[in-house]
Structures are given as structure tokens and as C-alpha cells.
């Protein structure tokens, strides 16, 4: 009997926690924000400021989202897009890390390559697309090429500067203790450069995401969120366009807020980069 009560109260406190988690300040203000946004949208729609074809109602867009999810267009499109993103990001990480390390190893190459990479980093990713189409063609590899070119330089540069800016005193102390070669690299240089590396990866991810949607719109491969967008434009289907935009926005938000911010916070906290305290 007693144990039952105990387990019951445990359940209650657990669900209480859950409710508290959902009803915290941030979530609440987000809900209010979205509601206000939808209300303004609905008002603009009802006032007929713009033709109804150009600006559908929130409800219509909601319906379109449901339809596109139910007939698997959006599900399939999201899956393909995320797969391309993952693949492109992975290739860029590998390439960027390797070239970044070579830049450290060969100083003159590093110097030249870094000014080159700074230029290419700010090069608009869309401008790679004609080049990719002629070089590779209308296929997945063409899209991947654009994605890689748009973000590999961020990874490269953050690897390079992260490793170069490791405080010399860490290296001195480690060498004094007997660390050298790979050990020094693996156990001192890499962890010391990690905060910079993570920041570079986050930037690279956002560049990759921008480039991917653009490439999917222009390099037609019949699948992907970018493709759904361009189909929407061709058939003047504003509901579909807005529905897809909402999905793209949500994915971006989830990755940035949930994945990268969490990792970065954890690392900054552990490395003590946010506190300038005690002493």
C-alpha cells in the first residue's frame, strides 16, 4: 500500500516536472510570439491587402503542410535534403580538418592557403552552381560539390587558427612533462583548440544549409526541400512555398539551437570560457 502511494507520488512529481519544463518562461513567450505572428498574418489576409492567391491564410498553409506530409512529399524531401546535408557536411569536415592540419604542418602553405580560404569563404555559394552544373551535371554530386565548396573553408580556417592560437604555455608545460609528436597533438593541441573548432563547425553548418537549399532549387534532381520550393514557384502554389519555408526554418532552428548551441555551451562551460571568476 505504502509503496503504491510512494510510486504514485513519484509519478505525480515526474509529470509535474514535465509540465514545468513545458510551461517555462521561454516556451511560453515562444507560444505567445507565434500566436501573435499568426494573428497578424490572418488579419492581413482578411483585410485583403494582398491578392488571396499571393498570400494564403495560415489555415490554408497548415492544410498544405498536412497534405504534403501525408502524401510523403515533405517527408521524402526532408529525408533527402538532410541526407545530402549530412554527407556534404561530413565530406567538408574531413577535407577541412585534413587541409587545416597540412596548413599547420607546412607553414608557407598555411599562410598562402589561409588568405585564399578567407576569400573563398565569403564567396557566394550560389555562384558555384553554374560551374557545378557544367563540371558535374544535374545530379546529387553536383549539389554535394556546391555544399562542400561553401563550407569546407570555414572548417579549414577554424582548424588552422584554432591550432595556431593554442596558448604556448600549455605546449611548454606538456613538452616539459614529456609529451611530443602525436601525443602532444592528440592530448593537448586538439582539446585546446576544440572551442574554436566547434565554432567553425557551427558556421560551416549554416553555410552548408544555405548552399544546399539554393543548389537543390537550381540543380533539379526531383527530390529535396529546395526542389519542392521551385515546383511551388512554377505552379504559383504559394501555400506549398510557405509550407516548405516553414519546414526549412524549423530544421535550421532545431540544428542551431538544439544541437550546436548545446554542444558549444557544454564546451564553453567545461573549458571555463564563460566565467571570469574567483582569484
Amino acid at each position: 500500500m505504502e509503496t503504491q502511494i510512494k510510486s504514485n507520488s513519484k509519478k505525480v512529481s515526474l509529470s509535474n516536472k514535465l509540465v514545468n519544463k513545458i510551461l517555462n518562461k521561454d516556451t511560453l513567450s515562444l507560444v505567445i510570439f507565434i500566436s501573435v505572428f499568426l494573428a497578424v498574418w490572418q488579419l492581413v489576409y482578411m483585410a485583403e491587402v494582398l491578392p488571396k492567391l499571393s498570400l494564403p491564410s495560415p489555415l490554408a498553409v497548415g492544410q498544405t503542410i498536412t497534405e504534403l506530409v501525408l502524401d510523403f512529399t515533405l517527408v521524402k524531401g526532408t529525408a533527402f535534403t538532410l541526407w545530402r546535408l549530412f554527407l556534404g557536411f561530413l565530406i567538408s569536415l574531413t577535407l577541412g580538418l585534413i587541409i587545416g592540419l597540412l596548413m599547420i604542418k607546412f607553414q608557407q602553405f598555411g599562410k598562402t592557403m589561409s588568405s585564399f580560404a578567407v576569400g573563398l569563404q565569403s564567396f557566394p555559394s550560389i555562384a558555384w552552381i553554374p560551374f557545378a552544373i557544367l563540371l558535374i551535371g544535374f545530379n546529387d554530386s553536383g549539389i554535394l560539390f556546391v555544399v562542400v565548396m561553401s563550407c569546407v573553408f570555414s572548417v579549414m580556417l577554424s582548424t588552422y587558427s584554432g591550432l595556431r592560437n593554442v596558448p604556448p604555455i600549455y605546449i611548454r608545460a606538456a613538452r616539459n612533462m614529456g609529451a611530443k609528436g602525436f601525443t602532444l597533438f592528440r592530448y593537448v593541441l586538439i582539446p585546446a583548440a576544440t572551442p574554436t573548432l566547434i565554432m567553425g563547425m557551427r558556421q560551416a553548418w549554416s553555410f552548408a544549409w544555405h548552399a544546399l537549399i539554393g543548389a537543390e532549387m537550381l540543380i533539379t534532381t526531383l527530390v529535396g526541400l529546395g526542389y519542392i520550393l521551385s515546383v511551388g514557384r512554377e505552379f504559383s502554389n504559394m501555400s506549398q512555398i510557405i509550407a516548405t519555408m516553414i519546414v526549412i526554418f524549423t530544421i535550421g532552428l532545431i540544428f542551431d539551437r538544439v544541437v550546436f548551441i548545446k554542444i558549444e555551451e557544454k564546451i564553453r562551460d567545461r573549458w571555463g570560457l564563460d566565467q571570469q571568476k574567483i582569484d
Binding site: 611548454r172 608545460a173 612533462m177 571555463g272
Partner: protein, 262 residues
């Protein structure tokens, strides 16, 4: 054989010996900048020698040379009769700022040193705990470095240095950034540890009190001479040096030495 016996019977043997050590830095305008000239120092096994000087007198450079961080210099540095070359865990340096790794806990920092010394994994935990206990930080072994106060950081540094069982401990103003009460505690702890381990310590500082409280000998450096100005052997027991009249006299003499501009 006879000679060997003779040497060891002379009461204490020279452990670290600097012979005519000089150091110049190349400058842009091709004139070289002399930092140290003809330094001769002999340090006995188990001794604490403090090197005292104002900033810019080359005292840290001297320590860097002994640690092997810089390999081009004139003269000879011998440890146990063998020339010092390159960096080695035999000669561990403790820096003014904490050189601990912020991505590791206090315990992991000490363990890292043991790992570098190739201590087998199953022994590392026990040893790391032991050294943290030695410096009184058992309760903080799982704290990250930024969670520790300045004094605690230097204690972890000390634990890390001791865990490598160096032949000589080189301390480059390790307590300079700490406030006076913490300094006093750390002096006591350092002296206690020295009593237990009898490690040879070379301690560089610009603080006269510190130099006189800790050293068996105090070497006063002069920036003008690029080298040693005077040397004081202090034979007052270290636990009686607080508020001691002759210690005060020595401090006054050294103060005069430091400020007479030669």
C-alpha cells in the same frame, strides 16, 4: 676508486652547476642583446636556492635555459655532472600563471603527467590521488580548473610537478599573482613538502621576503651586470624566520643591494 670515495665524502655534492653561462638574443638591427653574462652557480642536492631580481634582469631566462626551453647559450649547465640538453621531465618548471589544462579536472591534470611518464594505467589513479592529497586538494579532484581559486591552481600545478618525480623543481614566480595570506600558507606547505621530499628547488622571484623566507641561499641578480650581484647564505632554520631580527637585517641589506643601481 679512492678518488670516487673522496668525492662522495665531501659532505654534500654539487647537483646542478652553471659554468660561465651567457645568453644573448639576436635583435633586428643585428646588434645582439645580452641578457646573461658569465653566470656561475652551484646548487647542492636538496637545497632551495632563490634567485632574486627586478624584472628584466634575466632571472626567468636563466630558468628557461636550465629547463631546456632554449638550447642556444654560452657556457655549460651540468645536472649531476651531465650536460643539460633539451626539455626533460627531470627538470620540471612551474609557471606564474597556471599552465594546467582547462579541459581536464584537477585529478585528470595530475593523471595526464603520470600518463606522459608512462606510468601504467592501473597505478595512475592511486598515484594521482596521492599527490592531490599531498597538496591538500583531495576534495577538489573532480573540479575543473576554472572552478578553482588561484592558490588551488598552483597547488594542483605543484602536485602535477611532484608526480613526475623530477630531479629539480624550477619555480618561476609561482606565487606572484596570489594575495599575501594565501602566499604565506603556500610557503609553509612548500617548505613542508621540501622537508619530506628533499627535492632540489630553484625558485625565481622578485619578492625579497619570499626569497629570504624560502631560500637556503639567496642569489641577487643585477640587470646592469647581466648576472649575479651578491649571494647570501641563510643558515637560520626556516621555521624561525618569521619576525626574526637577523632575517630583517638581511632583507634590509638585500633591499639596499637591489636599489643601489649597480
Amino acid at each position: 676508486m679512492m678518488q670516487f670515495k673522496n668525492q662522495s665524502s665531501s659532505h654534500q655534492k654539487v647537483f646542478l652547476s652553471l659554468k660561465n653561462v651567457s645568453k644573448k638574443y639576436a635583435q633586428r638591427n643585428s646588434e645582439s642583446n645580452t641578457v646573461l653574462e658569465n653566470i656561475n652557480i652551484q646548487i647542492l642536492d636538496g637545497e632551495i636556492v632563490t634567485i632574486l631580481g627586478k624584472s628584466g634582469c634575466g632571472k626567468s631566462t636563466l630558468l628557461n635555459l636550465i629547463a631546456g626551453f632554449e638550447n642556444s647559450f654560452g657556457g655549460e649547465i651540468l645536472l649531476n655532472g651531465k650536460p643539460v640538453k633539451d626539455i626533460s621531465p627531470e627538470r620540471i618548471m612551474m609557471f606564474q600563471e597556471s599552465a594546467l589544462f582547462p579541459w581536464l579536472t584537477a585529478f585528470q591534470n595530475v593523471e595526464f603527467a603520470l600518463k606522459m611518464a608512462k606510468v601504467p594505467k592501473y597505478q595512475r589513479e592511486k598515484q594521482a590521488k596521492h599527490y592531490l592529497k599531498t597538496v591538500g586538494l583531495s576534495d577538489y579532484s573532480n573540479s575543473y580548473i576554472h572552478q578553482l581559486s588561484g592558490g588551488m591552481k598552483q597547488r594542483v600545478s605543484l602536485a602535477r610537478a611532484l608526480s613526475l618525480n623530477p630531479k629539480i623543481l624550477l619555480m618561476d614566480e609561482p606565487f606572484a599573482a596570489l594575495d599575501i595570506t594565501i602566499k604565506k600558507t603556500l610557503y609553509k606547505e612548500l617548505l613542508n613538502l621540501h622537508k619530506k621530499t628533499r627535492k632540489t628547488i630553484l625558485f625565481v622571484t622578485h619578492n625579497i621576503n619570499e626569497a629570504v623566507l624560502l631560500g637556503d641561499r639567496v642569489i641577487v641578480m643585477s640587470p646592469r651586470l647581466y648576472g649575479i650581484k651578491k649571494e647570501y647564505a641563510i643558515d637560520i632554520p626556516k621555521d624561525q624566520r618569521d619576525d626574526n631580527l637577523s632575517i630583517k637585517n638581511i632583507i634590509n641589506q638585500i633591499t639596499a643591494d637591489l636599489y643601489d643601481n649597480a
